[in-house]
């Protein structure tokens, strides 16, 4: 019971120019998982989703659903439902009729249909709105209808194509929790496309980070954030500082990097295979930097260039002695003093938070 993409590749040709939209996508999606395809626009995530749905024919590779090759099956025979960015509700049908659309095509008998519709409107919280038309609903309600309409089909896989990007920020937060709750309650295998990393982090079991048609990394939200395999993933997810240098020594999973002209030696955790003398990059999140030494073994010092007070935290920029700039965040500014612009400051970070990858 799973969805398998085998070496899926899609090339678009326009005016003789070939563009690789999806480059050898290979992934097994297990039953009940929610897998998110995350990446900047044009990275191939939507094309991948449309290949799974059957709207695009892959240039090569296969799509397998429950051990059945569905590559050449039209979308209506795949038992895969989709929730669209624009909701795509049928504007000429009521909420109820929208949900019943697929059931009618299946020729379900009336009482069975009634039961399922009631069950669904309950699950997604649409009670009392059954007779409304889509244009009489708010954006969030429309998205609930779209979800109910897809879920009621009991599909093998549920696809989400940026379902929340037409909603305002506040509603987006509630809806993504709702989607996750319902997805887990029904235990349905889902593939979710978004360009919003916070959304991806908050609802996924597995995140697939894509760029220019290629898969950059596959992993849990924690791995993607804390253990990026390359600079793209590190840079794309969250805010980051890169400190480039050369590998001085490797001992188990501990790496010592000499960080260029500052003469600093950074002791970090090995992220990729590294050899002595090779160029390396230390991935350091702004919130890993602290003004208190405590157990932290690494340090950087520089001048405070500017800071932004944001209430719950303070973001500031530090200029190192060789001119490189570093971003840092400290939390709970009430119990600390605000930084002073121009002052020399020392910041500390631990071995665990210095993630070293190949430059």
């Amino acid at each position: 019971m799973s969805l398998i993409l085998k070496n899926v590749r899609k090339v678009f040709t326009s005016y003789g120019v070939e563009t690789v939209a999806v480059d050898n996508f290979d992934q097994v999606i297990e039953k009940g998982q929610l897998v998110t395809l995350l990446g900047p626009s044009g990275c191939g995530k939507t094309t991948t989703l449309r290949i799974i749905a059957g709207f695009e024919v892959p240039t090569s590779g296969r799509v397998l659903l429950d051990e059945r090759d569905v590559t050449n099956l039209p979308p209506n025979r795949r038992n895969i439902s989709m929730v669209f960015q624009s909701y795509a509700l049928f504007p000429h049908l009521t909420v109820e009729e929208n949900i019943a659309f697929g059931l009618k095509l299946k020729r379900l008998d009336r009482s069975e249909m009634r039961r399922k519709i009631i069950e669904m409107t309950d699950l997604v919280g649409l009670k009392g709105l059954e007779k409304r038309r889509p244009d009489q609903l708010s954006g969030g309600q429309q998205q609930r209808v779209a979800l109910a309409r897809s879920l009621v089909m009991e599909p093998s896989v549920l696809l989400f194509d940026e379902p929340l990007s037409n909603l305002d920020a506040k509603l987006r937060e509630t809806m993504r929790l709702e989607i996750r709750r319902i997805q887990q309650e029904v235990n349905i295998t889902s593939v979710y496309v978004t360009h919003d990393q916070v959304e991806a982090m908050s609802i996924s079991d597995v995140i697939v980070v894509m760029n220019q048609g290629k898969v950059m990394q596959i992993g849990s939200p924690f791995d993607i954030y804390a253990r990026p395999e390359n600079s793209f993933v590190a840079d794309f997810i969250g805010r980051v500082n890169f400190i480039d240098g050369t590998v001085e020594s490797v001992d188990g999973d501990t790496v010592v990097v000499s960080a260029g002209t500052t003469g600093n030696r950074i002791i970090g955790k090995k992220g990729t295979e590294l050899a002595i003398g090779e160029p390396a990059r230390v991935v350091l999140r702004p919130e890993s930097l602290s003004d208190r030494k405590e157990e932290r073994i690494n340090s950087l010092s520089g001048k405070v260039l500017k800071y932004v007070f944001l209430g719950s935290n303070v973001e500031y920029e530090l200029e190192l002695s060789d001119g490189r700039k570093i971003n840092a965040v400290t939390f709970n500014p009430i119990e600390r003093k605000l930084p002073v612009v121009g002052r020399e400051t020392e910041l500390y970070f631990s071995r665990e938070s210095a993630w070293v990858i190949r430059a």
Partner: protein, 564 residues
């Protein structure tokens, strides 16, 4: 390269898995080939082969060496060019005045500028003869002039401008109406005066619309048959009429076909320029709601000048149609003006069969044409299949091919087995279906382009096949386009003449043909009575449809179909 063939293979496999779609595409291609391409091909082949079946250019050399025929070619182009220019000019003045000034009676002007669309095109010619001809109300009745030169270039052009300027108005109204007034404000703000703002902003932005309009009018005028038949006269030969006379008067099918080919070329050239060159040069100016205009585009004298021009044209247009109504109720136009119902009794005696036939043909062809238009629009916008561009070109082609050419093509193509249709109802219905399908396609395509494709994709993921998606989702969504196609196809079928005149028979006749033959034999009042009945039936149809639609379908739903 190996990948490409695998993708093609996958595509074909998908198409084969969907036999309904595949069969629909094949049937439509076959129908387009038989009912649009084949007749045109027959016109060419008939003009190029002699009795013994050999290749022979003599029909062309004969036509070209004949000064009269040559004159016909140039006359046709001349009239078409003048009609295109003046029709566009009047349409532009109406559109500009209505959109950019605060004159009174805008609703009235708008109605008058659209009205001629629903009237049979050639009754303009009929009316002009009644006003300016030998017994003309204005020339003879008021000024006592008997030999006013109404026949020929100027009379014909006048009739065509009246019946075709609405086409220009509708297009240009859309163009000027969507140019945001803030652009003019910006021009004023940068120091331009009103004339400069018009010259440098409004006019350049409407150039694509103007060009496209002129080409459309050029095609319409070239193809026009009814007006020149009544108004061209013997001293001013026009191709479409000459081709008809060559065939029906001289029994020279080859010569007629050769003239038809001459008529076809400029039309096709104009069509291709319009579609593939001008059509691509549109400025997109609409984003969201247009800002309310403060209407300061022209000063007062210019405003009232424009108002007077519109008033003059409106008065002229209304006079044209009022004349027809009046004419229907008098004993003998210009000689005995006593009111009578005699003409209508005559019409029901002589023409009842033609009225019945016209209705049967219109009611059969109209829904088929509109539905076919929607199916083709769906395929063109939403489906990828080999030959899509070809299907688009062929299906829109019949708009560009003059009715005379199509009519000759049909009698040539369908008078032998396996397509023996001459004299039947079928040949008229088929002709109307394929001649008026482009309008349905165009309004369907325009509306579908505004419908979020995800709505149909959602239906697929919920298990609907192509047929179910079309009938349950697409069609309900493009219902407004379907009904506008229905109205248009009906009006056209009721008022058609150029192709139909070749296809009517003793068994199946049309009101329009009756009007022409009545006016030809000088029975102007009877022709008017026929026209009034025709107009009444068209109005009744539109009215019934309007009432029916208000209760059945909410057309306003179309607004909420755009992307969320």
């Amino acid at each position: 390269m190996a990948f490409r063939s695998e993708e093609t293979k996958n595509r074909l496999l998908n198409l084969l898995k969907d036999p309904v779609l595949l069969i629909t595409i094949i049937i439509i291609f076959a129908a387009l080939a038989i009912f649009i391409i084949y007749p045109i091909f027959k016109v060419f082949s008939a003009s190029l082969t002699n009795r013994s079946g050999q290749f022979d250019l003599s029909a062309y050399t004969k036509a070209f060496s004949n000064r009269y025929m040559r004159q016909g070619f140039f006359n046709s182009l001349l009239v078409a060019g003048l009609t295109a220019f003046f029709g566009m000019l009047i349409g532009y003045i109406f559109a500009y005045t209505i959109n950019r000034t605060d004159i009174p009676f805008k609703g009235f002007f708008r109605t008058v500028a659209i009205l001629p669309i629903v009237f049979p095109p050639f009754i303009g010619a009929l009316s002009i003869i009644m006003l300016f001809g030998f017994n003309g109300l204005i020339t003879a009745g008021i000024f006592g002039i008997r030999n006013f030169p109404v026949y020929g270039l100027w009379g014909l052009m006048m009739a065509q401008v009246v019946c075709f300027f609405p086409v220009a108005f509708i297009t240009l109204d859309g163009v000027i109406g969507t140019i945001s007034p803030t652009l003019e404000d910006a021009a004023f703000n940068l120091g331009a005066n009103r004339w400069q703002a018009f010259r440098k902003v409004i006019l350049p932005m409407s150039i694509p619309g103007i060009a496209s309009t002129m080409l459309v009018l050029f095609i319409e005028s070239l193809a026009d048959f009814g007006n020149p038949l009544i108004l061209a006269g013997s001293k001013f030969p026009v191709l479409s009429v000459q081709a008809y006379l060559q065939i029906t008067g001289m029994y020279d099918t080859r010569g007629g076909a050769a003239l038809a080919v001459w008529l076809l070329f400029p039309s096709i050239v104009a069509f291709i320029i319009q579609k593939y060159w001008v059509g691509k040069k549109k400025y997109v100016t609409v984003t969201g709601k247009p800002t309310t205009s403060v209407l300061k585009s022209v000063n007062r004298p210019v405003k009232w000048l424009l108002f007077s021009l519109c008033m003059l044209m409106a008065a002229f247009t209304l006079t044209i149609y009022a004349t027809i109504f009046w004419g229907a109720f008098v004993k003998a136009w210009g000689m005995n003006n006593t009111l009578t119902l005699e003409n209508f009794r005559y019409v029901f005696d002589v023409g009842l069969e033609a009225i019945k036939d016209t209705l049967i043909i219109a009611f059969t062809s109209t829904p088929i044409s509109a539905l076919l238009g929607m199916v083709i629009a769906f395929l063109l916008v939403r489906k990828l299949f080999p030959g899509r561009k070809l299907m688009e070109f062929t299906s829109l082609l019949s708009f560009a091919v003059p009715g005379t050419v199509i009519g000759i093509g049909y009698i040539l193509a369908f008078n032998t087995k396996p397509f023996l249709l001459t004299g039947t109802l079928a040949i008229l219905v088929l002709n109307f279906v394929f001649r008026y399908v482009p309008v349905g396609i165009q309004s369907g395509v325009a509306l579908l382009n505004q419908v979020d494709p995800a709505i149909e994709e959602a239906a697929y993921t919920l298990g609907a096949d192509n047929r179910q998606v079309f009938t349950r989702v697409t069609l309900p969504l493009i219902v407004p386009a379907f009904f506008s196609a229905l109205v248009f196809a009906f009006v056209r079928a009721m008022t058609a003449i150029s192709a139909a005149i070749f296809l009517v028979s003793a068994r199946w006749n049309l009101i329009t043909v009756q009007i022409l033959s009545q006016s030809d034999s000088g029975r102007l009042s009877e022709a008017c009575a026929f026209s009034v009945i025709l107009i009444a039936m068209i109005m009744a149809f539109i009215l019934v449809l309007k009432i029916f639609l208000k209760n059945k379908v909410s057309l306003s739903g179309s607004e909420s179909m755009g992307q969320g």
